[in-house]
């Protein structure tokens, strides 16, 4: 079966690039940082072969900025980083949010804060993905648990970025980024690729920030297409020019927030396992979800009624479903490689419907199935 070209044994980081190229990535701008560097290396290797372009910028901020510039000039663009770089990119992520520039940011999470544990896994950037840049802004962030899913979700990140004209984050962790496993690369014909809507050529009434009837976001021209429009990080009206008007600010900000908020069903994804009869549900994501699944299987073998819920979109969080599940269980255990981040969101949505427990780890080691199993036994 390995004879077939589409069966590969690859790292999560490599699968990310394969997915990006399948989704139409034509520009990568970034800066080397462990444990995300393979994403830059493989992009440098593969992009010229598909007519795409790679540039290693002088710093993380520039990597984000250049990716936005590339997208504005019409190319699907990506950058990848890890903790310290994710912090540095935040201001320009906000720029992409307000100026509605589609782009994909990959964060291969490592131990922090600061330089922290550069080669060790973590899920400590989950809240930064939501609140990292200043001001209110829409956020879409996805987290894969396997190499194949890394491929699929990278494609989805590009599709969501193009569809909703917003920066989309792929929250990898070192576990999935660096592990190698079997992946069957889907045929191009099986992959849905979404492209941004463009204005009609020569449309003399083109307003770069006006949403047309029946569309979710404004059509996006590229620089050089003949529209000579203006883009700014200031609050702007439909023409794209800055405005100090409170009405304009309210209208723009509300539209930015609503384009995600009004389309939760389209965006949100999660995986459930043995939820139906579960007395305890383990909620976990990314690399840690693999430990949770193993713990769930061990618990089931012991006759314990344990289920599992894995948010695939961390943001927007699948709050409706989690609140529903909470009504029928004795406890929810949140397992994540941090001191307690997504658990705060779970507490917010579950309220008092079920007690919530946390299994966290901040020493750079992965959470083992036995550690989750121990907590299951403790709460049951």
């Amino acid at each position: 079966m390995m004879k077939k070209n589409n069966v590969k044994f690859m790292q999560g980081n490599e699968a990310c690039v394969a997915g990006a190229i399948a989704a139409g990535m034509k520009f990568y701008a970034g800066y080397p940082i462990t444990p995300s560097t393979e994403i830059a290396e493989v992009s440098a290797q593969l992009l010229p072969k598909v007519g795409g372009k790679f540039i290693q910028m002088e710093d993380e901020i520039a990597g984000m900025a250049a990716a936005i510039g590339g997208s504005l000039a019409g190319l699907k663009s990506m950058t990848a980083t890890s903790g310290p770089g994710f912090s540095l990119k935040q201001e320009n992520i906000g720029y992409a949010a307000i100026a509605e520039i589609p782009c994909v940011i990959v964060d291969v999470q490592r131990g922090g804060p600061s330089t922290g544990l550069p080669t060790a896994p973590s899920q400590g950037d989950i809240m930064q993905a939501k609140w990292g840049t200043h001001g209110d802004h829409p956020v879409i962030a996805l987290s894969p648990s396997s190499v194949r899913e890394t491929f699929d979700l990278t494609v989805r990140c590009f599709n969501l970025a193009e569809k909703y004209r917003t920066p989309v984050m792929l929250m990898l962790d070192e576990v999935v980024g660096h592990m190698r496993e079997k992946i069957v690369i889907p045929d191009a014909s099986e992959i849905e690729v979404i492209d941004r809507i463009k204005p009609e050529p020569g449309d003399s009434n083109y307003q770069p920030y006006k949403v047309k009837e029946g569309q979710i976001v404004p059509a996006m021209a590229a620089y050089g297409d003949g529209f000579r429009f203006h883009v700014t990080g200031l609050i702007h009206d439909e023409s794209g020019f800055p405005s100090n008007s409170h009405e304009v600010a309210d209208k723009l900000m509300t539209r930015l927030m609503k384009k995600v908020e009004d389309n939760l069903d389209d965006i949100i994804a999660f995986e459930e396992n043995h939820i139906e009869d579960a007395e305890v549900v383990v909620l976990s994501y990314g690399g840690t979800a693999r430990s949770a699944k193993s713990a769930m299987k061990k618990a089931r073998e012991m006759g314990l009624k344990v289920g599992m819920f894995r948010p695939i979109t961390i943001w927007p969080f699948p709050e409706k479903r989690v609140a529903e599940i909470a009504k029928n269980v004795k406890a929810i255990i949140v397992a994540e490689m941090n001191y307690g981040q997504l658990v705060l969101e779970v507490e917010r949505v579950v309220k008092n419907a079920a007690p919530i427990y946390h299994v966290g780890k901040i020493n750079g080691e992965v959470i083992t199935p036995d550690e989750i199993l121990a907590k299951i036994k403790e709460v049951l």
């Binding site: 034509k26 520009f27 701008a29 010229p48 072969k49 598909v50 007519g51 372009k53 540039i55 910028m57 002088e58 710093d59 901020i61 520039a62 900025a65 250049a66 990716a67 936005i68 510039g69 590339g70 997208s71 504005l72 000039a73 019409g74 190319l75 663009s77 201001e91 320009n92 720029y95 590229a222 620089y223 050089g224 297409d225 003949g226 529209f227 000579r228 429009f229 203006h230 883009v231 700014t232 990080g233 200031l234 020019f241 800055p242």
Partner: protein
Amino acid sequence: MSSQLINQYYRAEKLPHIWCPGCGHGIITRAVSQAIHNMGLDKDKVCIVSGIGCSSRAPGYMDFNTLHTTHGRALAFATGVKMARPELEVIVISGDGDAAAIGGNHLIHAARRNINITTIVFNNNIYGMTGGQYSPTTPTGDLATTAPFGNIDKSFDIANLAAAAGATYAARATAYHVPQLTKYIENGIKNKGFSLVEAISVCPTYYGRKNKKGTVVDQMNWLKDAAVDVKAAQKLTPEQMEGKFLIGEFKNVTEPEYTQEYQKILDRFKKER
């Protein structure tokens, strides 16, 4: 002539601009559009990128593909635009703080790559937008709101910084020396590589007032008197150069350009595609 330039190259409905009366930035912005006019560039194929600051508002008034980015990052955004569409003529408008302080790293690296971007630095020796703080080009000893006892920083020579970092074209003129400035901007755009034109501006509201530089006319006269052409300066003694500054073309060489070099990599794989 001005009104013709405005009709042809400005978004007239966005005027008047935000700059203070007497500010040199309008003159420099006009020189940029004059250079574009002289070269007969296609407006649809010109992209003007800026950062944050007084100067960075210029693109909003100009009828091209325009991008007003974050503080200091104009060159990094512009690099993305240029990589994605090398056929666009990419011009960056920046200020002294934007280009040489917060954006200093991007400036030297864009210069090092020799990517075909022309950067015009509107140098008014001060942070104007935030109200008169000292910038990397405020002369030592001068006053600013954050240097109430005199600036103890040394200042950057931005044109020569860019030249030393690898820019293949570097020049300086002033808001007084307009024909020269226009010519340098043209030469910068013509250069297939990274070009930097430093345009010394005047800031009557903050720098001029804080440092008792007199009226705008006094400040323009100072530009006229203190600026010495780089060729003429060769014949002057250090004593004669006291209190003067250099204008002129400091560097104009031809070296491999970044996007063309990348194109060669792409061409290698063309057959495979």
